[in-house]
Subunit: 248 residues, 2 copies
DNA sequence: TCTATTATTGAATACAATTCATTTTTTGAA
DNA sequence: TTCAAAAAATGAATTGTATTCAATAATAGA
């Protein structure tokens, strides 16, 4: 009876195999070296079979970015449900994102690449939507923090939608991170310790939003203490055991 | 005597021709459609001659991004020397960047693409350095504003380097802009008017930095008035006459 | 004027993504 | 169980382009 369902399941399993193998290949040899034929061969399938799943190489890259985003989202949601003040939780998202990017530099570069016109427009509509869908859970988690902060009075009600309010911290985070990714860029501008700056500016922005309790972002001691606390209480189990991410 | 110099000049003129033509081709047909052989032909040169200038297609793209950055920098420096408070000038940079990106969407996507691992690492060291150099003048202009703000007391001296302080506003700006670039991304998350949000969050961040005079970022009237004033007084001459940019 | 040097050329090469005619496997009716 | 039709898998051929390089042309300097 369920023969159709079985085929469906097998098809999905094979897609996972392709994506997992692609991840390994990219980790070992870089995005540039990824070849469709080699990937298919490495999975003991023909090239054409790979194209049953992905309409193009770009399509595959967006799918890969999506898969990793889903994993990332777990840590993200974990940070969102941490037992701490709304402001600390909001900041924890920035720390989680930063740590995740440091731990999986290949993945972060892939995400950056996926959002590029060339790749994004080269992927199928379905894949683009899938990536959008993968963004929903973390987006919901963040909205929830923002909403709770407004409800408890930690964050003044600016009359803005929660989604709009999260755009700032999120944009700041990805903007600075993508500069960090670009080899030599910040060094060339004489800007040291960009990670520290990211944390500091996130705090400046939260202060600007009037998010209580305010914090002094240039108190390096306190900031480091907070970051370490987040790493211990929220991110401790990142990068252990089953984690076979994209780190070099 | 100066035959060597003349050749040098001719070589540089030809490089400009290649870049200008590439810009036109990209404007008309997109980055994807740019072909080295077609570009060479369009300039009445052989393919090999193009490779005397650019070691690879990526090399060309970084060179192109650099050229546009240099033009962008002019408006940028103009904003920096505007007769207004340090805070207004700092904010004007964000507005200038945003307007430039809206006016030249192809260029902005190109810059985003250029900073991607695949392109950045595919370009020659010389080209990468050239792009870095093109970044210096605007960076200096921004540092100058920050320094003046500290000196006049508009901005509390946080004990931070001016370069470090500008990273926040800059990162926020590029981060949100690159989300705007990605077709459908913010719509999918239900975040409307991203341009407005960018301006608003820039102001939130400046408030957070304690940059005087503070402003209420959710006073849409006042914010719009300021943006319009910047457009009139600083950006009025963008997009006129000789401007043959990348707009569609 | 002539040779050596340098620059230009574009056809040939190389490399990978993608396609598609062929083969293999699966399905479900007889 | 058999078999024809349908579906899926295959990988060699096709295609599209970036890049190279042997041949040719232009230039410089003796």
């Amino acid at each position: 009876m369920g023969t159709k369902e079985r085929r469906q399941r097998e098809f999905e399993a094979r897609e996972r195999l392709f994506l997992d193998t692609a991840r390994t290949l990219i980790r070992d040899e870089g995005i540039l070296a990824l070849q469709m034929a080699r990937l298919a061969r490495a999975c003991d399938y023909a090239t054409g079979t790979l194209y049953q799943h992905f309409s193009s190489k770009e399509d595959l890259l967006v799918a890969l970015a999506t898969r990793r985003l889903e994993e990332h989202a777990q840590y993200f949601c974990q940070a969102a449900t941490w037992q701490a003040s709304t402001r600390e939780r909001m900041f924890a998202l920035t720390v989680a994102d930063y740590r995740f990017a440091r731990r999986h530099p290949g993945y972060s570069r892939l995400l950056q690449f996926a959002f590029t016109e060339v790749v994004w427009d080269g992927a199928s509509e379905a894949r683009r939507r899938a990536l959008q869908d993968a963004l929903q859970p973390p987006a919901r988690a963040v909205r929830q923090i923002v909403q709770e902060a407004i409800d408890t009075g930690d964050l003044p009600d600016h009359g803005q939608d929660a989604g709009a309010l999260m755009l700032g911290p999120w944009g700041l985070c990805t903007g600075i991170q993508s500069m960090i990714q670009t080899r030599g860029l910040l060094e060339g501008l004489g800007i040291p310790e960009p990670g520290q700056q990211l944390f500091r500016h996130s705090q400046f922005l939260l202060n600007g939003l009037g998010w209580q309790p305010l914090m002094n972002p240039v108190d390096d001691k306190a900031l480091s203490r907070l970051v370490r606390r987040i790493e211990n209480e929220v991110l401790a189990n990142i990068g252990t055991a089953a984690d076979n991410g994209m780190e070099p």
